[in-house]
């Protein structure tokens, strides 16, 4: 098992480099030019060349990529913003805690609420509780996130004044944004958990458990749950990617200074060094989470565990 974990960690390295190289290449294809940004459209060719040389943009792509990665890994240096000419790393680190808190809360909500409601619905299949849960899930999936967020802002923040509308000053600021970020993913998680549990509940070994004299509770929690959660865990991995991507919108709507809104601003102003760092963060996070999910799988499923002994 330790060998397997090490192998997976090692595999992460080439994945990371390939990913960043792809992102770097695609971004360098963008027509954005820092010289124009600084000097305006009236700049002469000499001035442009000078700035390009200063920023190292006249060197070949692979050299530029290599330098970038070297600086990132050895010095934590992510370059300088083209627009503000400030350190990208400094801004990134200032914003990171907000994004981590927001996504962690949303992931926790998605996982806990999704699994609890999904198991409840499956165990009480076709009951009123099940039907209500499913209708709610359907509603959450079909309502666009930004729309729901705006409605909730109006109701809970402006009308009832329970929560602050925007910003990131306290934990209170994160309540509504994380719920909004989790909303549509909860719905997906509930539906998946329910169908996976229903599938397991119909299996022969569940009937065997009843035939042994198990109570319904024991059947659900001891025999069915771990089997039913396997596809659900895979989905948690997908959810992380989704939630981080969703954070981009939610941070913008709620004016939270996070990595997501940094990405949006940077894309809007063609500030390539500023775009690079959030993307690297998001992709690395997704890689790591998927590794964790695979390991979790091995913990739950002996068939997987023994395969990697």
């Amino acid at each position: 098992m330790v060998k397997y974990i090490l192998k997976r960690l090692l595999l992460l390295i080439p994945t990371f480099f390939l990913l960043t190289l792809m992102v770097y290449t695609i971004l360098s294809l963008s027509p954005a030019n820092p010289a124009f940004m600084r000097l305006g459209t009236t700049a002469t060719q000499e001035q442009i060349d000078e700035i390009n040389h200063e920023l190292g943009l006249d060197r070949p792509l692979l050299v530029r990529y290599g330098t970038y990665m070297w600086n990132l890994i050895t010095k934590g240096d992510m370059g300088v913003s083209w627009v503000m000419q400030t350190s990208v790393y400094k801004e990134f680190m200032e914003r990171l805690p907000n994004t981590l808190l927001l996504t962690a809360l949303a992931l926790l909500l998605t996982t806990v609420v999704g699994i609890v409601a999904g198991v409840f619905a499956a165990v009480n299949q076709n009951s009123i509780g099940d039907r209500t849960t499913m209708i709610l899930a359907m509603l959450l999936i079909s309502l666009p996130n930004f729309f729901l967020s705006l409605i909730c802002q109006i109701v809970f923040c402006l009308q009832l004044r329970w929560l602050p509308v925007t910003g990131a000053g306290s934990l209170k600021h994160f309540i509504l944004p994380s719920i909004m970020l989790a909303a549509s993913r909860i719905a997906g998680q509930v539906r998946l958990t329910r169908s996976s549990m229903l599938d397991v509940i119909g299996q022969d070994y569940v009937r065997t458990a009843y035939a042994k004299g198990c109570s319904k509770r024991r059947v659900v929690f001891y025999h069915a749950l771990r089997n039913g959660l396997m596809p659900v865990i895979t989905n948690i991995g997908n959810n992380v990617g989704n939630i981080v991507a969703g954070a981009v919108t939610v941070e913008t709507i709620f004016a939270i200074p996070g990595v997501g809104s940094m990405l949006v601003n940077a894309v809007r102003s063609n500030d390539i060094p500023q775009v690079m760092s959030p993307i690297i963060f998001i992709s690395l996070l997704v890689c790591v989470v998927n590794l964790v999910v695979d390991l979790l799988y091995a913990v739950i499923d002996p068939r997987v565990k023994l395969q990697y002994r």
């Binding site: 299949q125 076709n126 119909g202 299996q203 022969d204 070994y205 009937r207 065997t208 458990a209 009843y210 035939a211 042994k212 004299g213 198990c214 109570s215 025999h223 771990r226 089997n227 739950i300 499923d301 002996p302 068939r303 023994l306």
Partner: protein, 328 residues
Amino acid sequence: MKELLNIKNLYVQYNTDEAVVHAVNGVDLIVHRGEAMGLVGETGAGKTTTALGILNILPEQVGEITEGDIVYDGKNVLNMSKKELQAMRGKQVSMIFQDPMTSLNPIITVGNQIDEMLLLHFKELTKEQRAQKVDDILKLVGIPAERKHEYPFQFSGGMKQRIGIAIALVCQPDLLIADEPTTALDVTIQAQILQLMKQLKRELGTALIMITHDLGIVAELCDNVSVMYAGEIVETGTVEDIYQRIENHPYTTGLFNCIPKLDSNEKRLTPIAGYMVDPTDLPKGCKFHDRCPYVTDRCGRENPKAYQNGTHKIKCFRYESWGEGDSI
């Protein structure tokens, strides 16, 4: 012998989205303590459904008992409380399931799956005592006790079936329902399993309902036989009554004709003509009439009663002269 199980006029249907499947249509079945009853019939005859009814574990919301009673040891299973049912299942009546590949939980060690029976029904035992019992029962079914820490996927089909048998036997039930315990196995393992069941019956005095479509197995193991067709028992009697092959229900005769015989000169087997009736659309009269070589007009209009001659009962007008007996 004392009566252990008495099924009276049992009707079971499956309410599916497409249709209502009439799986069991008026079954009467009595099993005494220590008796081995063979339940024989083609696939789809309703054997498994009857067995699931005895334990009251028909699929929720789909399987429905519409009529009848199942009395176990003087108590009606259909009126038992949850607690009573849980105490009966596994401890008094246990079941070996038809498909060993899917009947064991894939992520629980086989040792723990056997141990669970003791945990549920012998709460007074210590952990060590339970472990000892698990080892003993594994040895009895021919699996090394060290392997109890392994998972079902690490065993072959035959071994899984033996684990299923170990689970069913570890609490020493009064009634064991074995649902085609050897169908999924190859012949050598089949013989070993039958040997094992014989031994259990002899040594522990366990009553047995042996569900199979193999008349050979029944002859070897059982005292009495019931033949099932389209959810009805069409013939019942002692093994001698039925295996003499002098007086049989035409369906039973058909089943016998499907067994290959090495000592006969007949080159070809004679399968029963036609197909099993559709349980969503049962015919009027005798369910077997459109496959029966002795069919008369009356067979299509009227379902025959059970006619009785001593221990032998047959649901066919050809034996009307025996006189009406108790229903089967």
